[in-house]
Symmetry: C3
Subunit: 383 residues, 3 copies
């Protein structure tokens, strides 16, 4: 009974809408074997999977076989071995080209802070079309700064200078405070002496030749305020990630005190992923006009269950504060599924409200456009 | 295939059921402009909305345009400007009369503790039909008492006397401990000396001419026990509210120790709103026969998503312990939507179980009647 | 439009699949009156229900009348009195025989640590068919050991010997640490002196003639490690239970540090029930290959809402790490509903994904078999 293109053309509207993927990483630049692919299909487990085949028996694995296989000239739902064989025949670059081509993304906002073996923003755009733009990760900036700093007492100024410099080339900043110390720390601006002392401690503790890893809460939090001062949007990893984080300590409600601070006023704060705390994030979006949220990462990991998380992101949050992202990284299957499953979910969820008589179809199309494109264009000032 | 009136007349049964709205506030008594209305459409944000139009791009805004517009002689889903223009033409009182008329509520249990520019219980009933009854807010009672008290050592007795006096005219009490100190405080009965000392501190800290605001946990908690002694139902704000509260500290599970206390035995405890903790509240309702819950406030803020929260309130909670409320305050749109969306949701949720063969239609009608009317009549002794 | 047997025979496949119920208790061995049955229908309330009829106005009560009545020769949805009368006519054993017969369970893994008036594993299998196997409850083992121990300094060795001995006859261990101290305690292996001291304290505090009850965190946690050393699967009660526990302190995320420990590597850890934290449990299953989960207990308490919790258990968790259990105890209605509602839910949830084109029907049948049977057979080494 549903006409082609879904409820009153809503699905078709979603297909034709060029998305802003406001939080994404590059694709692999070299061919990957079965084990590497399987491990990329498991976000949470940081140890190599003992049995890579287990990664295929997941919602993500099923979604790859359903939605990506046809773009590699296979029937939907092939055996994982069949999929792997075909993938190897085509090679990583051709796989990426085909899967990215199906995303219809106009702007890739790429977090370049975790980029080992991943394409650059420009490289991603070259394969997938559209424009690549940079999101700078604060902790990476700090880790690059540390070995070059003569006097840790200069930390605050030196870091602020790096951030200001980065602000000239990037469209936003990102913090992975979630992974470094969680949100259950003092989120007020640290005193200058505390920052200097923390920098001294960090530098002193650095082992010869070891890559520095920032996990001191004082420096991490101090970095958030340095970014806020630039007025660029600030992305925060929230919720589900790998087991290095404590999921209980990355509930966005723990950010409430930070969000109340005057330094946040007027600066877009992007709560990324949010699963399973998307209702908490939605409340914060209603409470603070600066708060935006997306359910990227969750979308492709939930596969057939993605409509639920998309629907939950549209409860308390004002619709001008919800964004699209894939948070894909590595295999282009993730980039493809981010867009595919989001479009499917939006068509199903918004279409359901239209069919039930709760929403008008014009509103549904308008909200799809806001979430998929316009909210990001406005928040990141992309025009 | 579904007959008129929904599954076996369930929807019709719900329309004809006169509801007890066991937690509500008055309607505005003066005309409101666009900015005031928009701010009333955002519960969480305590700052004036920078862009009032954003409040219309929400589930609540869409629900107002869908369900309230026809009662103002407009087509469903008009532009917000059209709606505002028509609203201004009719004036606040005529708008309220039309929207309240559609609620079919027999009893309004009105929290009079937050009443600036709002109609009284009698005024609400005069516009909407039925009977207005009073719920007395404990913190307001305390704030009225403070300036009149000569010796803070008399606090406990003087407050108990006020509560007992109020119990003669009201059908229940309400506490907003959620807003004043949250639930993560010591909920055991405070010692008399601690209460006297807290009253002394509060009185001493009061600035000349300032309206007293009670947020001392000792006095707030002491007030709960004063109310419990009257055996009147005790309403507690739980979950979602404005950003003055810490949503993480108003999880009803934090009330478990209070609910275990002997002072609670036999006194109905009403967990209001509960979103997004309605599953936690349902567990408490199964664990303690005194615990009742509703999902008011959430219903109208979730709009098209209201059926989900209504369904979740019917998981672990025994059906004799679930109630209806709107928690509407101010614009009569909220009063109307509370009833409209609850009826729609109940018809959809219970009707779905009947259609699936899980429930009998007789049970569905009976549960609708329990939740919409009879549980409140029994708990508040309204007959 | 759906063919007989559901989507492509999925429902029929589920009916014919003989289940492993990996966590269950015995059935009552003596006739029960109305009050006893009603109290068994309320998991959370530890006090006798003031009004036993209220237990029937619940999702569980409705599910009993819908699904169990026909097996007692009644129409679906009889009045509770009718059901009780017929139940009394048949007697507990005949009721159990009829209700268990409909479960099609091949293996009952019976927690024998809470067994008052309940059938043994062999007794359960004699009534319900299949094989009964034992799960040994660690806290019960400790409470049996205490009175026999001459010197509490020997606790660790003596308890380890009991556990090793039990490992020869049982297929796994269970801990109810959730009820004894919650998960918000130090979960690292306690030092030997701390264990000895705790045993001394426990023995000294034991009142003459009183049954010992283990709730000392040091001894409870020490017991977990004794069980882990046997490499047998370790079951942990998680989430919803009776009001003796603090639901907030049995969130499985509080187990993260335990799950990170080397002692856990390679030992199946079974998170039981999990409601309302099933999404948290699913994250842990993706993060740690040892973690398995089920939604037993919740299934029958949620009745018509069971499909939701089953669906949520199939989000982040790899499908090889999700299991079936009933967690039934006492009236055989619970054993029956565990299986009935799980099969209904799986047919609906997986069937829905097949109908939507997200999953292949072969995958749906395979995942049903993994969850219902094969994952348990592998984890408990039942072949």
């Amino acid at each position: 009974m549903t006409p082609p293109g879904g409820v009153h053309g809503l699905a078709e509207h979603l297909e034709q809408l060029a998305l802003v993927d406001h939080h994404v990483h590059g694709v692999w630049t070299e061919d990957a074997d079965a084990a590497r692919l399987a491990n990329a299909f498991n976000e949470a487990d940081t140890a190599p999977l003992a049995d890579p085949s287990s990664a295929w028996d997941t919602q993500l694995g099923f979604a790859v076989r359903r939605w990506c296989a046809p773009l590699l000239d296979l029937e939907p739902h092939p055996a994982p071995e069949t999929y792997l064989r075909r993938r190897a025949e085509l090679g990583e670059t051709e796989v990426a080209r085909r899967l990215l081509d199906g995303t219809n993304v106009s702007d890739w906002l790429v977090d370049t802070g975790w980029s080992r073996d991943l394409s650059s923003p420009a490289g991603l755009a070259a394969l997938g079309g559209g424009t690549g733009r940079e999101i700078v990760r604060l902790e990476t900036l700090a880790e690059e700064l540390l070995p070059t700093l003569d006097d840790p007492a200069d930390w605050a100024d030196a870091f602020a200078a790096r951030v200001e410099d980065a602000a000239r080339r990037c469209v936003g900043f990102k913090s992975v405070i979630a992974y470094r110390c969680g949100f259950a720390v003092d989120l007020a601006p640290p005193a200058p002496e505390a920052v200097a002392e923390a920098a001294r401690r960090w530098q002193a503790g650095l082992e010869d030749g070891a890559a520095p890893r920032l996990d001191d809460p004082t420096l991490v939090v101090s970095g958030l305020y340095a970014a806020l001062r630039t007025r660029r949007p600030l992305q925060l990893h929230v919720g589900f990630g790998d087991r290095d984080l404590d999921l209980a300590s990355v509930d966005p409600l723990l950010l409430t005190d930070l969000l109340r601070r005057p330094e946040v006023r007027g600066v877009p704060v992007m709560l990324l992923h949010c699963y399973p705390y998307e209702r908490h994030a939605g409340y914060l979006a209603q409470a603070f006009p600066e708060v935006h949220l997306d359910v990227g990462l969750a979308t492709h990991f939930l596969g057939a269950r993605a409509p639920g998380v998309v629907a939950r992101s549209l409860e308390l949050a004002p619709f001008r504060q919800v964004l699209y992202s894939s948070d894909a990284a590595g295999p282009a299957e993730l980039h493809h599924l981010g867009a595919r499953l989001w479009r499917n979910a939006m068509a199903q969820v918004l279409g359901g409200w239209v069919e039930a008589g709760d929403w008008s179809v014009d509103d549904a199309r308008r909200v799809a456009t806001l979430v998929g494109r316009d909210n990001a264009r406005r928040a990141y000032d992309l025009d």
